[in-house]
Assembly symmetry: C2
């Protein structure tokens, strides 16, 4: 077994949970994983640090100028897989190991990172660690969600989150990650070189109708909130199918009063819409707002809609994409340029420094599941391309 | 205040619950209402009886031949209204009071009834009292639902339910009820004379898709269970709107796993379909089965569908309808012939004896709610027409 495969196996034992892995921000399981990582970093003679936001760094303090930062995250969703995040952290470790073995003396600092709370599983925060690292703190929001209490119980100081900002020393960020989708598996390509990280829009919608008797109310006198929601589900899908640059999902829905023979008087649901281009993002946002309003009006329903999140798409750095393309070709790996449909720490970093991402295939497109899997040879190839690109950047 | 209005007021105090009324089968509240009714029956010199199924009878044992049975039910849905059921029982009392006052000597027996457990609120039984009265017992099903235990706690013998059959002594059944829909209020007519009680069909449906990531799964690679459910909701509505003789409702829906950014891999929902004609009932049933199967196949979804209930429509007796028409005209009441979209005890009785129903308007079509309301003068008019029709039948 390669050292990367062995380390993936070792990391997956920490927080092992019913075939999957559960490691949440400021939990004992993530603390244990961080300690494990710090030992690995120190074995490679890196300067290890757990920063005030719970991010783990391993610094090869060498050369001059801004650092090349390489990594991902070790936290997970509940019963998540063993690759999401961990692969990128362990590939960064492997990169340092390769460079040490080859006797490379970097001309600039090289840092390994494991960002805290990328998944936001406990408090629906998401990318808290990388945001704090980039100085994007929202103490009030995080306190309201319970982060301060959790940090206090873990013995760390919530107010120190503001002192975690250290992005200014970084000149480039690279992250290897599993695709979490089926595109590479279906195309048969080895790697995805990420052009942009999709913009994320979230909405909560309430439609208000009238909860009347399903047998005695004439069909043309109904104000059926679920019928309105159903139209919106299908119109969003139709629009997204007709466009290259948009996805749409209604993942949560509930109706009240919820009786077999009662017309739904209230339907509540979420809308998740994404686009990797600025223009597509604006169009998708306008389409959602117009569609919900129009359908509610046509159905005679009251309507409340609130945006839960709005993260415009981020184009990744062209120079770093070119470096990854060159490294892939040198390693004989096939690849495609593709957007990322999921959010990542690179999305936060890209607003501050040149950033890039490299994908390896996900079997069946499955992620956030114990069934998440990428074959060892595909993980290895991704790590080799990452190491080669980093060698070029620090050489 | 008329005696009918006073008695509606008095009955509504028994089991009063947050502006509404809660009286369930074999509960202390319904027992108290039954005792109250028995006192009223005895005041009118009727032979009062609580039968083995919890039905209350008041028998005017007079004349010869089969009895005319008049009544409804005193049980309610949770926090139900004060008219649903109670109005028909109290109008039957008022009918006897009128005949006594007029010195009418019936040529055949006249019985007042309050059937037990019409709503089936506790055990999802429904019309248990009238079914037992008609000999339609299903001891095994009722025991499984908890009826036997509840009866034991109330000190009555479950096995005696089979001895409640007494429909054979009845020659006609008449029931006054609120419409529970908006038709009469909107048309401005005083009364509805019911032609048929709608057939009821119920289904539970599960659609099985794939719970993938909402951002990374291409739109054309999704198997979205909620999209399938949405199509079915809308196709059922379209069919029901296009036909005179069908209603359709999806009143309960849930999806799993229920994540903002996860495509619904499972959707479960109910379908309630009704038709007042035998031909419409068959067509509606076929339409539901065909639509669910076709949509599931087109969407690439697995499908499980089970029928929860199937009660074909029942035409009410023409001779009794004619008697109600004559009585309405004699009282100067406007009326329309209409089907009932809700189930009633008359539906059970109609399989055994000639049965008929009379509706009074429901304000706003509202029922099963504390807001249920029918103005006193409309209740009175309904009761007068009922009394006149009964007088004709027993005279």
């Amino acid at each position: 077994m390669s050292s990367l495969a062995a380390e993936l196996e070792a990391a997956a034992q920490i927080g092992a949970d019913g075939g999957g892995v559960s490691r949440f921000a400021w939990s004992p399981e993530l603390a244990q994983a961080n300690e494990w990582l710090i030992r690995r970093l120190e074995e490679l003679s890196l300067e290890a640090e757990l920063d005030p936001a719970g991010n783990v760094f391993g610094r090869w303090a060498v050369g001059e100028g801004s650092a090349v930062l390489v990594g991902s995250h070790l936290d997970t969703v509940p019963r998540g897989g063993r690759y999401d995040g961990a692969l990128g952290v362990l590939a960064a470790l492997a990169t340092v190991r390769v460079l040490r073995a080859e006797g490379v003396e970097p001309k600039r600092p090289l840092w390994v990172v494991s960002f805290n709370d990328e998944e936001g599983s406990r408090f629906q925060t998401g990318m808290l660690g990388s945001r704090a690292f980039c100085g994007e703190v929202d103490l009030e929001d995080w306190r309201r969600r319970g982060v301060a209490d959790a940090m206090a119980r873990a013995g760390v100081d919530f107010d120190q989150l503001t002192s975690a900002r250290a992005v200014d020393g970084v000149g480039a960020y690279l992250e290897l990650h599993i695709e979490q989708g089926p595109v590479l598996e279906q195309s048969g390509e080895d790697l995805g070189i990420v052009t942009a990280i999709t913009g994320l829009l979230g909405f909560r919608v309430k439609l208000l109708g009238a909860a009347n008797h399903a047998g005695t109310t004439p069909m043309d006198g109904r104000r059926d909130a679920l019928a309105g929601a159903s139209r919106i589900v299908l119109e969003l899908r139709e629009e997204a199918r007709a466009r290259e640059d948009m996805t749409a999902n209604v993942g949560i829905v509930s109706v009240e009063p919820g009786g077999f023979n009662v017309i739904p008087g209230l339907a509540e649901f979420t809308i998740d819409v994404r686009s990797p281009t600025a223009e597509g993002f604006e169009r998708a946002e306008a389409f959602v707002r117009e569609t919900v309003k129009r359908v509610a009006a046509e159905e005679g329903l009251g309507m409340e809609m609130s945006a839960t999140h709005r993260k415009p798409p981020v184009a990744l750095d062209q120079g770093l994409q070119d470096a990854l393309v060159g490294a892939a070709e040198a390693e004989g790996a096939s690849y495609r340029l593709m957007p990322s449909g999921a959010g990542h720490d690179a999305m936060v970093l890209a607003h501050h420094v040149p950033a890039a991402m490299l994908f390896v295939p996900s079997r069946g497109g499955i992620s956030h599941s114990p069934d998440e899997y990428t074959p060892p040879e595909q993980c290895e190839l991704g790590a080799r391309v990452l190491a080669r690109a980093v060698r070029g950047l620090v050489g």
